[in-house]
Every structure is written in C-alpha cells, then in structure tokens.
Symmetry: C2
C-alpha cells in the first residue's frame, strides 16, 4: 500500500450537541443516531471498514438539504451526501465524522420533456426508476453503472457504464443541476438549451466533484430515442489479445457500437455460476448494436468480420428482448457474481482507463499482474472506452490479503498511468485513490483543485477527506 489514506483526513471532528439537537428537533423521525442506521450510511461496496457518521438525516427536498447544510455550516460540521450506497471507492465513509444526508427519499421524476429529449429528476431517483418511468415515451436514459445507482450519485462520481462507448458518460449527459453549496444556498447550473458558452461550466465542475463542492439535489439529463432495432451478441476468443484487438479495430473504424464489454474466462465462469448461463469459459465480448434495421445489419456484418479476423468464434445472438435483458443483467451483476468466487469475500475493483491504442498492452500487463494473486481475480470492462476493472477478492479482516490486493492495485494503477491513462475511468477518487490522483494529474493540477475546493468550501465541511486530504 504505497498510498495509504493520509492520517489527517481521518481525524473525527467534534460535533456540537447543539447541532445534533437542532437536527433532531427539525427532522424528528427522519433524524437518526441509531448505530445500525449510522453503520449502514458509513460504508459502501468497497472493502473499507464501516466508518459511521454521527447521525443521519433523511432529506425530503432541496430546501431541507439546504437547511441541513446551513446548520452544518454554522457549526462547521462535515456532511456527506448518500444515495444508494453503491460507491466502490469509500466515498461515503465518515472519516471525519459528521452528518450523512440520505437523499434516497428525494425520488421524484420532476419532468420528462420528450420533445427536448431531457428529464429533470431529484437526486435520489435511480437509473432503473427513470427508465421504468420512460418506458412508454419511446425514450431512454443510457448511463448504466452496474449498480442501480442514484442519478445524483452518478453525477457526483462522473459515472458511466456499458453504453458510454456510444452515448457518453455523465459528463456528456448532464445538462444542468441544482446544488446546495457550502453556505446552504441552492443554485441551478446550466439551462435547458443543449449547449451554451455562458460563463464557467459549473455543471461540469459539479459532475465528478464527489460531494466535495456541493450537495446535488436535482439533475437534468439527456434522453435518447429508443433505437428502431437492437441486437446483441456474444463472441468468444482463444486469447485476450484477439478479443481486445477486435474491439480496438471496431472503434478505430468508427463503427457506432452501443456496447462492447469484455469478460475474461474467470469472469465468464463466475457469471455462468451466478446467473445460470452456459457461456464458453474463454475471453469473451458482449456486443450491442443500435440503429435502424439496416444500420444494425451493417454494423453486425462489419463487427463479425473484424472478430473473425482476430480468431473470434461465431456470434451467438440474443435477439429477443428477454434474452438481451438476461445477458445485460448478468453483465451488470458481474461484480456480485465475482464476489461469489469465494463467498464471504469483499473486492477491490480497479478502474484503469487508457487510450484505446494502449488497451491490449494494458490488459495483457494486467493479466500478468493478476497471475501473482493468491486470491481469486477476474477482469471485466467497458473496453470500447479503454476502461476495464480487475476484481480482486480479499478478506478485509486478513491484513495479508488486504496488503497483497492493494499491492496489485498499485501495480495496475501505475501501469495505466504509464500508458497515458487514468487511475479511474468511472468510479472516482474517493478515499482510495487520493495518492494516485497526485501521480496522475501532477502537483500543480491537484493544487488548482484544492484552491477551487477552498474557494467554494472554506471550512471543508463537504465530504472532507475525499479526493484529497485537506
């Protein structure tokens, strides 16, 4: 572990009783200091031990969030926004104590504007909830991290997922948002216009800020027409190199694939067991094609030919909607399937993203690094974007395994940064990658980020100890 969490970031701050009492009076049953509630809000999907906040407030509106932030500002008390708890990098741990603001009850879809292909939702709406509500409109929201994350949380971590290769990430798909700033002001960024050159891009500054610059309360996102035709296929390869080279060539030729997911043989094995599939346990690509009937046919022909050129087997088709749903549900459950390779384990999920020209080298290097693991590992990834995850199982109570898995993660991050890539394609910095951000972005860029943080949150109350130790 070359990048331990700085000790300074973990000093719990004293919380004045006055602050807790005021919150208790104001929120009644929607305020809790029960240990079970606090522990639930002080952990996420990462292997970090639970680090509970001092109290949890269940907020019902932006105005209530503003009240909580205002109180915390007065008393210089940390606060951490909480959606569904699906972070993989320790974003939700109350390393300095304070208040967790649970926004999962803020789950209203405020408007769907089908004509403009936009929707505005409260931060606690999940991606599946939004798509369920859109079902009869002929539109959909494409961003799909594996978990059924809250859209506020997805904006805060600049999330993406399997569709990003065609539709972009939260960076491209958030048009504007409402945010409560460190002094308790509610402000709106962006307009409903598709583009704008009006001043600094506050929307993009908030997207990916991990709760450290403001509490996101509403998000306006772009929607897309459901394609006329959708087709999905699975194709296996004798080698990792063959699979990755096929994707790289597909991207370089500009074929507008909607999804291109890689799973190594072990991940396929885990999926077969967890989701009762019978896929060949080889390096495998899952593809999805969106377009007109003719357009999809064209794409399929091109990609099938490219795959064959790289040793790929024949495509196996998932044409009916329920087959496709089964396939993508299995893919989205890959993280949980991999956890079952050794029941009771937790996992580190690496998140390298490199230029596509370096992807084959990076994945082969990752394979060599993982070969030294003493615990089960697997590789899955959004390879059309150059992004993949190594899932490394560990027993969080076994210090040797914790150390060994972090050492592998460290090698993988260095490999990605050395190939002009990033330590995190879509999960965020959180607690886990504070040191790597320095390695990747450099001291000057991190110093600039810190100046921005100080300017917008001078008392460091907004999710302190994340992205950088203050």
């Amino acid at each position: 572990m070359n990048h331990p969490i700085p000790a300074l970031a973990q000093i719990r701050r004293p919380i004045p009783d006055e602050c807790l009492q005021a919150l208790a009076e104001r929120f009644g049953e929607r305020f809790s200091t029960a240990m079970a509630v606090r522990e639930h809000h002080g952990r996420d999907e990462s292997p970090f031990p639970a680090t509970p906040p001092d109290a949890v407030v269940f907020a019902g509106s932006a105005a209530e969030v503003a009240e909580v932030v205002g109180l915390c500002a007065t008393h210089k008390v940390p606060l951490i926004p909480y959606g569904v708890g699906s972070s993989l990098e320790g974003h939700l741990l109350a390393v300095q104590g304070g208040i967790s603001i649970d926004v999962s009850g803020m789950n209203q879809i405020l408007s769907v504007n089908a004509e403009d292909l936009t929707a505005t939702v409260q931060a606690g709406v999940t991606r599946k909830q939004l798509n369920e509500a859109l079902r009869d409109t002929g539109l959909f929201f494409p961003i799909d991290p594996g978990a059924d994350a809250s859209i506020g949380g997805m904006a805060a971590t600049r999330a993406s997922g399997t569709n990003a290769v065609r539709y972009g990430t939260m960076r491209e798909n958030v048009l504007g948002l409402s945010v409560v700033t460190a002094d308790g002001t509610v402000l709106r960024t962006g307009t409903r216009a598709k583009k704008s050159s009006a001043g600094y891009d506050l929307t993009r500054l908030m997207v990916g800020s991990e709760g450290t610059l403001g509490v996101i309360t509403e998000v306006t996102v772009r929607l897309y027409p459901q394609p006329e035709a959708i087709s999905a296929a699975v194709v296996s390869f004798p080698t990792i190199r063959g699979a990755i080279d096929a994707v790289v060539q597909t991207i370089q030729l500009g074929v507008p694939i909607a999804r291109s997911e890689f799973l190594d043989a072990r991940a396929i094995g885990a999926l077969n067991a967890y989701s009762k599939l019978t896929l060949k346990e080889q390096p495998t690509l899952f593809f999805e094609f969106h377009g007109t009937e003719a357009g999809v046919r064209e794409q399929v022909e091109m990609v099938q030919e490219i795959a064959r050129d790289h040793g790929g087997n024949d495509f196996e088709w998932a044409t009916r909607p329920e087959e496709r749903t089964r396939l993508w549900t299995a893919r989205h459950n890959a993280y949980f399937a991999c956890l079952q390779m050794r029941p009771g384990s937790r996992a580190i999920s690496t998140d390298a993203c490199v230029p596509i020209s370096r992807l084959t080298e990076c994945l082969e290097g990752a394979g060599e690094i993982l070969a030294r693991s003493t615990t089960p590992t697997a590789i899955v990834g959004h390879v059309g974007d150059g992004n993949f995850h190594c899932i490394i199982l560990l027993d969080p109570d076994n210090p040797d395994e914790v150390h060994a898995s972090e050492a592998l993660n460290d090698e993988l991050v260095r490999l990605a940064i050395g190939l002009e890539g990033t330590c995190t394609g879509e999960h965020g910095i959180g607690l886990h990658k504070i040191g790597y951000l320095l390695d990747e972005a450099g001291e000057e860029a991190v110093a600039m980020m810190r100046r921005l943080k100080r300017a917008l949150d001078p008392d460091n109350i907004l999710n302190p100890g994340k992205i950088f130790s203050f």
Copy 2:
C-alpha cells in the same frame, strides 16, 4: 442598452515601465508598442471600438507564455491571449490595458494519434490548418465556427458550429489541455484516456473560461473517421415555421444528421450576392448526412419525407465534393456576406440557443423583433442545436444605430432566456453579455464563478473585465 459594460471594468491600469522594458529586452522584435500592432490586437469582429493593449508580445512556446505571465503577475499587469482575432463579443479588447499575448506563432501540430482518434496542437493552430494536416489520415476535426479560428481560442470560448448537432462542441471534443495559470505555472489537464473520474474536471473549467482563468497553450482534441459517404442538400420552405418544424422533428426522431443549418430569405439573398449562388430566396435549410452509403440513403429518405410534410420543396443535391465545399464555404461566409448587405457596416450577431421544443416560437419571435429594425438584418443558425444568430447591421459611429441594434439584441436575449435558453450558444460572454449572464445564470451562480476566478487569479490579471466586471 440595458446592459452597458460596467465602467469599473474599463479603468486602464498603470503599467510599470519596468515591466515593459523587461518584456522588450526579453522578446526583442517579438515585442511591440507600435500603435498599428496594438490597435490590431485591441479589436475583434464585434462592433466595439478598438481598445488597444499597452504592448503586444508574440510568444513562441508555452515556456515563453509562462515567462510573460510571470512578469505580468509580478507587476499585476493585465494580459489577454490573442489567437486570430475572430471573437464576436469583445473578448480581445484591452479594457484595462496591459499586454496582449499573440499565440498565432504557436502553430505546431504536436502529434496526431490516428489509432486513438486524437491530436495535440499548440493553441495557435487553426481549425483549417489541422484539417489540412489530417487530410491523408482518413480523420477529421469537426468543430467549425464560421471563421478559421485558432483552436486555443475555440477552446476558450467553448465554440461549436455547423457540425455540433452530430459531433458536439469544444466541451465534448477537448480531451485535455495545457494552460499557464495566473502565477506563471504550466499545467496539464486530463489524460489521453477517453473518459476519467479523477478529480475536478479542470479541462471543462478551462474550456469556455475566455482567458480569465489561464492562458491555453496546447489542446488535445478528439478526431473522427471521415465518413464513408457524405451527402449534402439544400431545401427551401415557404415559411420559417415549416423549415424549423422540419428540423425539430428530425432531431426528435433521432436521425443522426451531421449538419442542419437554417438561413432566412435575406441571408440567402446575401449569400447569392456574395458567393455567386442562385438559391431561391426563401427560408432554407442546408443539410449534410454522414454515414455508410446505405445509412446516408436512409437518413436522406427520412429527412426528405419530413421536409415535404412541412411544405418543403425538393432537395437540391450537392453530391460532388467541390459542390459541397462551395455550399459550406458559402455558409461559413454568411457573416461576411451579410455585412455586404450594407457595405461599410459592422454587425451585432446575437447567439440565442433554446431547447429545441421552443425553437419555432423563438425564431418566429425573433422575426417579429427584427421586423422593427431600421438597418438590414438576417437570420442564420445551427438550428439542430436550437442555436441561431440574428445579424443586425449598424454603423458603429452612429449612436442611434448602436442604441437601436443593442435594444433589438436586448429583446432577443430576453426572449431566449424566457424560453429556458441561453444568451450565448457558442460565442461567449466577453464584454457584451456580462449583464445577461446575471439574468440567465442568477446571482448565486455568478457569485460562484467569481469565487472561482478570485481563487485562481487573485490579482485579476487574466483578461480582466470579461465574463464579469471584477
């Protein structure tokens, strides 16, 4: 003129002789205080009178830019980056005096990475220069404001143009950049990976910051494969409503058109005269379609049917490359063509951008407002994005015309903001829209922008008096 430039923003600051002498000694013939050079660098394409800097430095490298910024920081002297001078909003005027840093000599294409579909260029490279250099690679850079702007300037104003409806704006197409900050540090933002969740999005903060947060010295942009097939067509309509409704429906159906440009009858008249075309003087759309042969055929059929449904005439085709080039060159020269409606005039170009569902209403409203103009006007626009420009001619030495044109602009901006749009889709705030930024974004959002500005440029030396008066 309800939004005059705040007087405070226009107070020239004293420039210590020491600073000018140091620059003269360091840069020799690449330093100038000649009035002709200063005047050239103190104006742009807007109707504002030239407001010259105290001196101009012609920088040859990022290191030289850093030296100039360092000197200006020491002496608290304003500095204004200068590319090709094609701003339309007064970005380049030295309203507080200081040094203009001309980066047009920084025109090296540093790398083209065809495998990753990226290029890294110095800030002074123009969009046409880049595309010329890409000619044999099978790739192109799509962002095309009318002028042959510098890519640094395009990043600084978050520019877009005719291709944005399909390929996005500079917001989506800048992967990373090098920037000299207010203290003379050179820093790099972003990596070469296509996406990242590593910390605050400094790239997007710099894109659109109009030289007020740093001097951009290098830009890494996304490139795209030249489509297999390209087809362009012109179609005229009896009414503005018919033309706009046809575009709106095309967008709402998700047809992936590459370009959809509107020109009103007067703009067509101006183009016919300036570019020796013989187009019917009616509300007109220029379309371009990119894709495979079959894909383009499909798009064309769909759009032709939609156009007919809205009263459009038959498509006139520009199939050969030289016909297409002629058409789009004419479109890109529309601003200059309109200036010739009354030779010797300057123009205000409005820049409303609204949600597509409000576009017809906005354009019809614009037509009514312009009908009251006493000087020639025309409308052109990137209507697929909801963005259009009213070009209002004026004699900048005639106070009545200046006042009248600003009054029309004021009405047009209010109309766009009232329709949930923005006062500037792609030109930026500059000097001209400082007040409108407040109307649009609100006091809280502008206050946040000012806090960011103060954090990164505490002495307000970077293009002061633009975006907001300090």
